[in-house]
Symmetry: D2
Subunit: 136 residues, 4 copies
């Protein structure tokens, strides 16, 4: 996969609010769904990691910029890429593109690998680092 | 479409709670997503109806039965069918089947057609009635 | 406490949808918040139960009836009472009353006590049964 | 009100995920609830603004930093203050403090005032500017 990973979504009724737009916090839910689909594609599913308890990746930072209102029924492609890859952490970038290829929003999440007891790891798990490297 | 309409979902991290299961209320969110996908397939998209304001279908009743816990990462097929079709209302039935074909949960939503001013309609819109009839 | 337990809520922007009403599934989220507040008041907090793992109460059934649309900014009182108390399960009833004392919605959740391994308990925990009895 | 506005929350079951922590996106929902409570206190309720359609304040940017895991049952105070006040926009800062006064998370939302047709306003509404100024 040399092109960015893409996750299609449709803005559903529960995503919108009385102002008729996607409620801003729900963009982060969609970003995380796209992240989980991305990790599934890398054969490192987040559910398996949490269940086995060997590889925890809590989010330490999240941000989003909203350029265009997203409305009920809009078809959006969430493009996922690796924005940063560090010793103990990495950043995932999300571009929300409408089916007219307009950039409606961008988001970023920073994930930090920790041990089960909450202490910092010496370095990212090798299989995780290798998998992410091909998307930087 | 003679077979029931099916909408695939994956149980994502935000669907689960600290007890490690799908939080019960989120089943209804997935049911409504399946309903919206069903209406899209019938070429009666809910977003267009709400936007045009000519056909409002508020939910008057909802219920669900939970048979098996759904967990993070589970792949589920939501089968949608029309359980009841009345003069001014209809009921949609949802069966949540795991990829081992176990029935994890069922849900039902009752939708009532009203006018924009909130008053009852004389009868369901003909195009809606016709479309739903083929799924009863 | 001889009167029903009451939990005040305000309908916030994220509760509403593009149709300008409370999205039906969010009523169940508010019902469960009211249930948790009720259990806090009974000194049987749900979080402690889940954390200690000794007393699990999964929901086996949920239902709601929607009488009046709830809109952004509405102040609502959720009245909680025990609708049914059985050997291994109990039902909680919720009445959503507006500040004009109109009954906007009702909901019901059925909770079943199970062991940590998922098997049925012989009977509800005595402290739980005693606490709930005073609200029937 | 010379001290920052404070909005108390309890981390409820639906806020948490299978990793046993507050799901990161839900922090933004709580931040917005705190913002709405803050605007209620300023007698500029968001619901009235959206309903009247005269004063629209879409969020153009949101960010959060997560310092400590928040868990089911945690009591948290959300302190709201005005971080920035510009010609057409303003930024709201949120500090999530545990009842041991630890700073669990911070968040920021940037709101931009627009006209109903989506065009930029010349300047923030005077009553809004005046109200926010006392919290900078």
């Amino acid at each position: 996969m040399s092109t960015p990973f893409a996750h299609p979504i449709t803005v559903r009724l529960h995503d919108t609010d009385a102002a008729g737009r996607l409620f801003f916090a729900h963009l982060f839910r969609h970003a995380h769904d796209a992240f989980e689909a991305f990790m599934d594609a890398l054969e490192l599913p987040v559910d398996t990691m949490i269940r086995s308890g060997q590889l925890l990746l809590p989010i330490t930072h999240a941000q989003a910029d909203y350029h265009l209102p997203l409305r009920h029924g809009d078809r959006v492609l969430v493009q996922v890429s690796v924005a940063d890859l560090r010793r103990r952490s990495f950043a995932i970038q999300y571009a929300f593109r409408t089916n007219q290829d307009a950039l409606a929003a961008t988001a970023l999440t920073v994930h930090c690998q920790i041990n089960v007891d909450g202490t910092a790891v010496a370095a990212l798990a090798p299989e995780l680092k290798t998998a992410l490297q091909s998307f930087t």
